[in-house]
Each structure stands twice: as structure tokens, then as C-alpha cells.
């Protein structure tokens, strides 16, 4: 309390040169923030300019100009330009893809996290499952596409399965790693304080491995958005992947690029949400905050 009072009174009596220094410092900080923003936004603008010039100079008709893509984006969002099957349909496609991405992703988390906690903690489970996991993991998820179409038919479920598979391994492996790297003293401390059995999983193992679990969730989430496109490229009429695929079939590159941009934006926004959730749960750990 005392320290606080002295700082306050000091602040009040701050002399003119000190105030000027503070204002200069604030000014520098603002300038720094402005520069970071200008650089971050400037580079993509530069890329678009190069794209525009390259299309204009080469005179290609295979790649649309940024302006044509912008028109397509407007039509895809609000309609009123081309008035075709894709006009004003963005929300339907985004919604379908989001549903499939998160069905697969949450299913992967629902199985991956508890399984990872148990494999990490229970030796016999590790001995039973570790070789199988190591064997299955190197198989590219896209190689499962034919089999998943046989298992789940042509339709959204095959896409969800692909997302699940792609998200499952990063979640599982990071959870196992998280459990394995918990300081054994924490288990000792918990057990001497009367914690045992399932309470140990809930109170100690889960929160202690949370930083690593969130790492896995974030990687898995990135994979999920990659795989939804692969999954939706065959046999489904809606979804951002199917938009990209239809654009290819119809030779409408403006639609393809529009679809790519929307997928990128969805991935970016949802990744920020995951980071925000992770920051909330890991607020105790300064080195895991971004």
C-alpha cells in the first residue's frame, strides 16, 4: 500500500521534462505499432499488385485479375452480378464446411485427449497401443480417401472422417507428450495431499498437460481445414471444397480463387478463436501465452 501511495504522489509531482519523456515514449510506441500494422498489411497488398500486373502484362486468360476475383467474391457473398448457382451462397457453403470441420475436429478431440491422457499415464496401455499408432501415423490422411468412401459412402461423412483422422494424431501425440512431461513431483505432491484415482486425471494430469494439448489442438485445427477441402472434393454438393472443385470443373478460376480466399479467412479467424481460448485456459503460464 505504502509503495503505491508514493508512486502516485511522485506521478502527480512529475516535472515537465519527465512528462515530455513519457510523451515521447508513448509516441515511439504508437509509431512502432503503426509500423507493424503497415508491414503486415503492406506485403499482401504488394502481392496483389504483382498479381494484377502479371495478369495484365502476360495477357493470360487462365488467371483472373484481382478485380475479377473481387467481383466474384461480391457475387458469391451477395449475388446480383452473375446470378448463377453460386450467387449469394457463401453462408451455406461456409456453414456446411464449418459443420464438417468441427464435427471431425471435436470427435478427434473427444477421443484423442482422454486416450492420450490414459496412454501417457498407464504403462500397459502404452505398450498395447504405441506400436500400432506409430505404424498407422505415417500414412498420409489423403491415402485413406478411397477407403473412407467405401466405409462412409459418397457424402459428407467421408469428409468428416478424413478431418477426424487428420486431427486425431496431432491431438493424441501432443496429449501423450504433455502427460509424459509433467513434473513427477506434482504427482507426489498431489498424492500426499490425498488426491488419487480419477481425481488425479482431472485435477493434475489434465491441467498439467494442457499447454501441450492446446498445441496439438491448434495443429490439428489447421489440418482439419486442409482436409475438409480434400474431403469435399468428391461426392458432396455443398461446402467450400466443393466450390473449389466445381470452379475447376467449370474452368472458373475466379471461383476457385474466391473459394481459396474464403477457406483461408475461415482458417485464420477460427485459429484466432482457438488462440484466445488457449490464452484463457493457460493464463497461469506466461511462456505459453501469445
Amino acid at each position: 500500500m505504502n509503495d503505491h501511495a508514493t508512486t502516485l504522489s511522485k506521478a502527480a509531482e512529475r516535472s515537465a521534462p519527465e512528462a515530455a519523456a513519457a510523451s515521447r515514449r508513448r509516441h515511439r510506441q504508437r509509431l512502432e505499432a503503426l509500423r507493424a500494422f503497415a508491414l503486415g498489411i503492406g506485403f499482401p497488398i504488394l502481392l496483389v499488385l504483382i498479381w494484377d500486373r502479371a495478369v495484365a502484362i502476360s495477357g493470360t486468360r487462365l488467371i483472373p485479375s484481382p478485380y475479377q476475383v473481387a467481383v466474384m467474391m461480391y457475387d458469391f457473398s451477395f449475388g446480383g452480378v452473375y446470378d448463377d448457382a453460386f450467387s449469394g451462397t457463401i453462408l451455406i457453403h461456409v456453414w456446411k464446411s464449418v459443420q464438417r470441420v468441427y464435427a471431425g475436429f471435436f470427435f478427434a478431440a473427444l477421443i484423442g485427449i482422454p486416450l492420450g491422457l490414459m496412454i501417457g499415464r498407464i504403462k500397459i496401455l502404452r505398450q498395447l497401443l504405441d506400436p500400432t499408432i506409430s505404424l498407422l501415423r505415417p500414412i498420409p490422411v489423403t491415402a485413406w480417401l478411397p477407403l473412407s468412401m467405401i466405409f462412409f459412402g459418397l457424402g459428407p461423412n467421408a469428409a468428416i472422417f478424413l478431418v477426424f483422422l487428420g486431427a486425431f494424431y496431432p491431438i493424441l501425440l501432443n496429449t501423450i507428450f504433455g502427460v509424459r512431461s509433467v513434473d513427477p513431483r506434482l504427482f507426489e505432491a498431489a498424492s500426499m495431499l490425498g488426491c488419487k484415482g480419477t481425481a488425479m486425471f482431472r485435477e493434475i494430469i489434465l491441467p498439467a498437460s494442457l499447454p501441450s494439448i492446446f498445441n496439438g489442438l491448434r495443429i490439428a485445427h489447421g489440418f482439419a481445414w486442409i482436409l475438409i477441402v480434400v474431403g469435399e472434393m468428391t461426392g458432396v454438393p455443398t461446402g467450400l471444397g466443393s466450390v473449389v472443385m466445381d470452379g475447376r470443373t467449370l474452368s472458373r478460376t475466379d471461383l476457385v480463387i474466391t473459394g481459396m480466399i474464403v477457406i483461408g479467412a475461415c482458417g485464420f479467424v477460427t485459429d484466432r478463436i482457438i488462440v484466445a481460448i488457449s490464452n484463457h485456459f493457460l493464463r497461469w503460464s506466461p511462456q505459453h501465452r501469445e
Binding site: R185, A189, A190, L193, G194, A208
Partner: protein, 260 residues
């Protein structure tokens, strides 16, 4: 002082410990016998590798003795229990819990009514003087504050044996001195039995009713010093320094042959 008449809280008889080390076995503890009366402050002191930490971990229930028996109030120790609380050198606080949540962890595990948990927690937050830091996370605390939380966490769980493994070893000299005084106050106020591992002779003589000097190869209790100085103890008094010299001599007497 009628400490000798108090009932024994901890009885260790014929405890040995062997560890597997590759194809070999290492004898960490030769048969150790020890009786600690309730409320006594015991310091275990010795060079590294003398088995003092192993003995402490056996009492905590983290390790099982190879032979022999360690018991609290006549009941053999089979594992960790809330009657014995360990304070680790590296604190081992739960980093995702605030100070208050760390301290209330034991009472919450015992599923006490919420009001009781809150009351006990407040009491021990206050005992270690961390009211202003109760909602901070361990990473936001200094080493001394962390160790206060660790002590409160164990006491809030009704531990009647406080096991401390070089608890102040990682602290700077000033903080250590302050915590030593606070520990003595808490000890005399709560009547808890303390078993304190250290390798500082001065710390042992300052704190303990009784200093046990351990020697290595295999670990055993070499000598048992009673410290009958009145508290607070004056580290510059001749009696204090005489004891310090005696204990240091016992300690180093074991180092000479191993050097040769």
C-alpha cells in the same frame, strides 16, 4: 522441558533401502532406527549421497523400504498420506492454481463443506502472510513466497508431520533467514512435528531440537545431537558455536577417508 515424555509419533526400525543401478544394487540406507516424539523439530544433516533424502521419502511414503518398518503412531506407512506433508526444495506448487487454490487443494480433496474449505484456506493464507497475493499464480511469486505457499498447503491439510527436503536451499540468504524464523513461529504455534533435511550446519543448529548427522556408504545415522539452547537462538553465542563445531567435526570426519 518434558519432550522425552511425549508419545512417539514416528518410529523407524531396521529400515534399509537398496536401489537397482544397472546390473548392480546400491545400498542407500543401512539399517536405520529412529524414534521421533510428537512435536519435535529434527534436522537430518549429511553430505550428498548419505541417504537423508531417501529416508525422508520413505517417511513420506514415496519410496518403500527394502526391509524394516516405518510407522506413524504405530501404523506402518504404505504410501503417501495427508498426515505427512512434504515441502520440496523446488516447491512443486501446482502452477495452474492460484495461491488460494494451492492451499485449499488438500481440504478440497477431502470433500469438506465449501465453508470449511474457505475458512481453513483463509486461516493458512494469513498464517504465512500472503493475503495480498492470494489470487496470484505461482509464476508471479518470489521463491520465498512460493515456499510459504508450499508450507501452508501442507499444514492446511492437517499434516502433523512436516517433511522438508532442503526447503530453503534455493533461496537467497536474507529470505532464508526470514523463512527460518517464520517456520519456527509456525512450528511452535501449531505443534507440528518437523523433519528437516539440510546440509547447512548453522541452519540445523538454529532450527532443531535434535540434529541427526548421517554418513554415507551406506547411509546411516552416525550421531544424534540434542540442541538444548533457548529460542530465539543467538548464532554468535559460544554455546551455539561449540555445537556447530562439534557437528561440523562429525560431518567432516566421514569425508576424510573417502577422499584418500
Amino acid at each position: 522441558m518434558n519432550k522425552q515424555e511425549r508419545p512417539a509419533i514416528l518410529t523407524i526400525s531396521g529400515v534399509t533401502k537398496r536401489f537397482a543401478a544397472g546390473d548392480d544394487e546400491v545400498e542407500a540406507l543401512a539399517p536405520v532406527d529412529l524414534t521421533v516424539p510428537q512435536g519435535e523439530f529434527v534436522c537430518l544433516i549429511g553430505a550428498s549421497g548419505c541417504g537423508k533424502s531417501t529416508l525422508l521419502r520413505i517417511i513420506a511414503g514415496f519410496e518403500q523400504p527394502t526391509t524394516g518398518d516405518a510407522s506413524v503412531y504405530g501404523k506402518t506407512i504404505t504410501g503417501p498420506g495427508s498426515d505427512r506433508g512434504m515441502v520440496f526444495q523446488d516447491y512443486a506448487l501446482f502452477p495452474w492454481m492460484t495461491v488460494r487454490q494451492n492451499i485449499s487443494f488438500g481440504p478440497r480433496q477431502r470433500r469438506l463443506p465449501r465453508g470449511d474449505v474457505a475458512r481453513t484456506t483463509d486461516e493458512f493464507v494469513k498464517l504465512v502472510g500472503l493475503e495480498r497475493f492470494a489470487d496470484r499464480y505461482p509464476t508471479q511469486l518470489s521463491g520465498g513466497m512460493k515456499q510459504r505457499v508450499a508450507i501452508a498447503r501442507v499444514l492446511a491439510n492437517n499434516a502433523n508431520i512436516l517433511l522438508m527436503d532442503e526447503p530453503f536451499g534455493a533461496l537467497d540468504a536474507l529470505t532464508r533467514e526470514q523463512l527460518q524464523n517464520e517456520l519456527l513461529q509456525i512450528w511452535s504455534r501449531t505443534g507440528v512435528t518437523a523433519i528437516f533435511v539440510t546440509h547447512s550446519v548453522e541452519e540445523a543448529v538454529l532450527l532443531a531440537d535434535r540434529v541427526l548427522v548421517m554418513s554415507a556408504g551406506p547411509g546411516r545415522i552416525d550421531s544424534d545431537f540434542r540442541i538444548d539452547l533457548a529460542r530465539p537462538r543467538d548464532v554468535s553465542s559460544p554455546e551455539f558455536n561449540a555445537l556447530r563445531r562439534d557437528i561440523a567435526r562429525r560431518l567432516t570426519s566421514h569425508l576424510v577417508p573417502s577422499r584418500a
